[in-house]
Amino acid sequence: MSDGDPVADARQVRYDQARYVDDGQYEPLLSEKDRTRVEIGDESPLPDDLTRDELELPALSEPELARHYTRLSQMIYGIDSGPYPLGSCTMKYNPKFTEDVAALPGASVHPDRSAASVQGTLELLSRLQDYLGRIGGMDAVTLQPPAGAAGEFVGIRVAAAYHEHNGEDHRDEVIVPESAHGTNFASAALGGYDVVSLPSDDEGRVDLEALDAALSEHTAALMLTNPNTLGLFERDIEEIADMVHDVGGLLYYDGANLNALLGRARPGDMGFDVMHYNVHKTFATPHGGGGPGAGPVGVVDELAPFLPAPRVRAAEDGTRAEDRNSDGDSDSAGAGEQRYELFDPEHTIGKVHGFQGNWLVLVKAFAYIARLGDEGLADASAKAVLNANYLASQIEFGVPYGPFHHEFVASAGERDAADVAKRMLDYGVHPPTTKWPEIVPEALMTEPTEVESKDTLDRLAAAFNAVAREDDETLADAPERTTARRIDQTSAARSPRLSWHELDD
């Protein structure tokens, strides 16, 4: 890198991830630290034939376990480790205090409690429904779906129930843009629909002619992300909504990219009928190494009777005490005297989770929204879009489609995007999402979010640019400073070893 840009080089971070090497492998498994077999037979309070014979698991002391998990945590890169511009995943900082509110004793209640004894839980859910409705421009919200894909599935089921209710069960197709999230296709298929894939136009947006050709009396819904996965706003969204509605279809909003629009535009105002929110993206609840998230669904009035059961609402016979603040703004009030109740919507699709979804995640999302308020939410989208634009302007990889918003898709060009990503790991940053969407060759889908400073973005850009200037061999050998070196994916899939039992000789 001696021939590189000296300014950029100076900004490069040297990074070595923790690595414990023990007898030719990394940190041993719990089962390699201890395996203790407990014979159960005679000691069981149950008859022999109802009892298992034995259980063999590690028996380790608390200090040993504390070290085990601390070491494992050191072999993970999280948002608190450095920038995490994983496109489409909105890896923004997770405020620490939200963990504290989720850990409040009052949050620890059983779902089968009487409504009268969990008014606090119902109030929080009701307030969060209200917040989300305002943010998305939706009339009614369910908080039950436990993830974005679960929200999509709810949207699909709601659409199906709506069409069936109207005697239109001949609608058997859901249209999904080619560049959409994989979950859109899978959720529509899980709902029993034929998926009609829609190509993009030359500028990376919905091709109106292709849409016109795809729409018919068979159309149940069009699923759309806006801005789309290239970060582009679908400028023709009003016309798209009219086209879908004209054939009797519904317009579904995939909320994955909502962070770009907070306080700037609302799906409800664009003509969307149903949407999901990814609270682990837009509202900063921790991603937890893959989850839990939550995927609340908002709908327009006409679809509200079909939402999952039960929903929460203010009880009509309740009386609300005087709001505690002088200006009468109800949002400023603390917990009130209003009574809340659960109810089943008239034509409900029923249950999509055994209880009420990922409650603790919803508590964190509520706290985040209540902390930021109008100004904070609008500032989040402003800074997210500014950051994406700035970062794109500082990297040497081309960005074929624009103007983009909170994320952009760069092209690694002649380089292998996966190799670029592996090498970026050596510079102490998490790489972008790679090789998707496929409309951009060797895609590097990059979403820095609002939480990065200019300085961090400069370091991130320096990592992109350093890698851009390195030779193919270096990239192919990367990473070299992470806990593990390049991992053989083929070997993992060819001979699946999915538990420590499979490692016994």
Partner: protein, 447 residues
Amino acid sequence: MNGAETRASGSPYAPHTADERDAMLEAVEADSIAELFDIPDAIRFTDEFGIDARSERETRRLVRSILGRNENLTELLGRGHYGYYVPSLVDHLADRSEFLTSYTQYQPEISQGFLQALFEYQSLLVELTGLEIANCSMYDAATALGEAATLADRVRETSGHRVLVPDLLRKERRGTLENYVAGTDLIVESYPTADGAIDADELAAAVDEDVVMLYAENPTVRGTIEERLDAASELATDADALFVLGSDPVALSLLQRPADAGADVVIGDASVLGLPTSYGMGLGLFACREDYLRQVPGRLVGVSEDATDRRAFTLTLQTREQHIRRERATSNICTNQAWVALRTAMHAAALGPDGLVDLAKRGVTRAETLAERLDDLVGVTAPVHDRHHIREFVAHVDQPAPAIAEDLERRGFAVHVVGEHEVQCCVAGVPDTELDAFVAAFSEVVR
């Protein structure tokens, strides 16, 4: 700076100074941030949400005041969601921010720690179920049951379409299952149980070659332990149907291994370990026989080697998943419950095999003891079912059950009402002293 005690004028988590913002705008050749938004005027949002910004301290106070409205009751509640004590070790280590703030391990080289923890979680479930494969999470037991049914639809060898579930099944769990199969030609039907468990003759009458999946739970939602899983398994096998068993890691530490009972798939809520009572938030356990490897829903962590030939972990067999297979994926799941799985593995490790077996045994003996004590009260018969129980049981009360439950609630105790004259009580996580107080309250209520 935007401190925790002040209300921010923008996002308190966006660190830009005005100078930095201006420098960045200059770099992108824009005069204002607004200019970067390519949104047609007609649909720009110019109004306000009406949500006030708060300081961190104010927000904490707000949530505390809202949740403070929840009454502090001793919960003798179970029926699929349990409140076992979770050791501090779990909270403190799971809250390490590398665990909490990372995402799916798309870059395994930099995510070995989480992958190893999930591999250990999978291994725990393989040990408990005796089945060869466990994925590293579905959302909860209900959605895992739904996924089991779509698996049955994919792998079946018959042209049938019936999914049989016990008549005792929680209606929420059944409702979720019905939504999952709504896009298939499967239909969900109940088979009758007798005295809180499978009746082999009734079940035999319900099963025919049209059945593609037979579901049973052990323990049942009423806390009874199944004695005729062998019959269920045989009937399923004869019908070429998938035998799916619902359970959880605590019960599995003591009860007959599902593999020995002939189960093809095990589902359930694994967060009985790892999560305290959380208003139903869970962790979908999903384990199955090796034969269904290519049809498993959700994420799988496997072993591989890195460029130095050292053992390394990675997500594997991803061609089953939605981001690659799209509408032909085995499931639409993406974001899952990985962090809860981490917590479950930690809790199990903290208990160790002796601790797990002991916890399960105490679930049997303590439920039995509490039932006996309630049975001694006038106007109460417990347990209703002449079966072995774990954790919970149903009691008959001569007075109307809702009135009993309301009276108990006034005295600080929550129980389930499961029939006009039936309440259900669960001992999991309830200390002995509180059980004593509960019995005392119950005796007052039925007096």
